[in-house]
Subunit: 221 residues, 2 copies
DNA sequence: ACGAAAATAAGTAATTATACTTATTTTTTA
DNA sequence: TAAAAAATAAGTATAATTACTTATTTTCGT
């Protein structure tokens, strides 16, 4: 995993600052540029090449949806995550049609935000749970043009866990101890210890808290 | 804490069954009756005396809000929790005006549901986070008639923890271990062990999972 | 300022977890 | 069907937690 280079596009300085602060202590991502509207964002793209653009839907001088369209036309390899304050069907559908790789409400939690970024950065798509029903209903109505290549709302995670490891991760995250897990799976306590050890090693974490954070962040559950 | 006797009022059998199932394995609460509309609910009240009525807002033959009004007029000691599928300002405000002790969206989690029940049963009030801003904006506009006696959206919990215990509970729930907590608070690891031990004893739990569950359920954080 | 409650911390024995390694058995899949 | 990957589990030494008890020191309410 190399670092995900991000450009923020939002007309509110406060919002940009908030997002930057949120991403600051997060490894693997870096905000390299920011713009206050779509026109400025496009001019930045002549000189910078980000991996991901995080775009507010409502902006002066070219709104988010038009910007997404422009990006997908000229720079196909750049991923886009649309932020919105509205969960109206209209915006969601328009964003998807424009080719956005994700759609998040501004009220989303930090966790969800990071999850979306990682999902998109690893080639997936991410849409808030709140809008997934909207997407689905639109899906069955045949509007699949921009979504046919990749799966929706899932994350291709960079840590591939085995079935047993996922299972044990789930139980560990329920704060069960090795004895309880062992009993539940009918295996020896020593075996769960090994699985747990391998899990921690694979995810490069050193305690349950980090395990829990990383697992949620990368949607490993 | 004695058992909280509950009457469910909802016109959908499935919803009532779901709620019953949800409350079944929960100690301290018992569903004693159920009704499919407001009129039937009132006739049940001539013979039964519950502690709490859980009421759907949308029903035939007297809707939830009218029912709440009727209950608060005739049986002041019975608490009411309104369930709704709408987070529209109108319903929230109307429920509060009618004298409801809580308002929850049907999409609420089990945790939140139990939290609301405990909050209300111990004399508090509970409103979903989603609607708290609506409440607040209505508050500052002077509409305080039905809320002046008690505090809003807080729980009077049955387990009184000391300041330090709350602090340590918070850190424990962040999955920090005793060494980390001790360092953070500049006290000895042995002291945090004692606090932790006393906490577990006070809340009558035997592992972190139960601690976590109970703490969230009773809003101890 | 006095008593009570809360916070601090050490002691001890038993139980678990951690951080590995090694090794056998099952299951996949090319 | 053979090789690779996954699951199983024991061993070992060290570290941490648990379940208490006892005891001193702070802090708080009246």
């Amino acid at each position: 995993m190399s670092i995900v280079k991000i450009i923020l596009v939002d007309d509110h300085v406060l919002v940009r600052d908030g997002i930057k602060a949120l991403l600051e202590d997060e490894e693997g991502v870096e905000v390299i540029e920011e713009a206050s509207d779509g026109i400025k964002a496009l001019s930045i793209l002549k000189e910078s090449t980000p991996d991901l653009m995080i775009i507010d839907i409502r902006m002066p001088n070219m709104n988010g949806i038009e910007l997404v369209k422009a990006i997908k036309k000229e720079y196909k390899e750049i991923n886009t995550l649309v932020l919105s304050m509205h969960d109206s069907e209209e915006y969601v559908v328009k964003s998807i049609e424009a080719g956005a790789d994700g759609y998040l409400l501004k009220g989303a939690s930090k966790d969800e935000f990071l999850k979306a970024i990682h999902a998109i950065a690893s080639g997936g798509k991410y849409f808030t749970g709140d809008v997934s029903s909207i997407i689905m209903s639109n899906f069955v109505n045949g509007n699949t043009n921009s979504m046919s290549t990749k799966k929706t709302a899932t994350v291709e995670n960079p840590f591939k866990l085995t079935k047993r490891q996922k299972q044990i991760l789930g139980l560990v995250l329920q704060l069960k101890n090795n004895k309880e897990i062992a009993e539940e799976l009918n295996i020896s306590r020593r075996t769960t210890e090994v699985h747990r050890f391998n899990l921690m090693k694979k995810l490069e974490v050193k305690n349950i808290k980090e395990l829990s954070d990383k697992a949620h962040e990368y949607n490993l559950i």
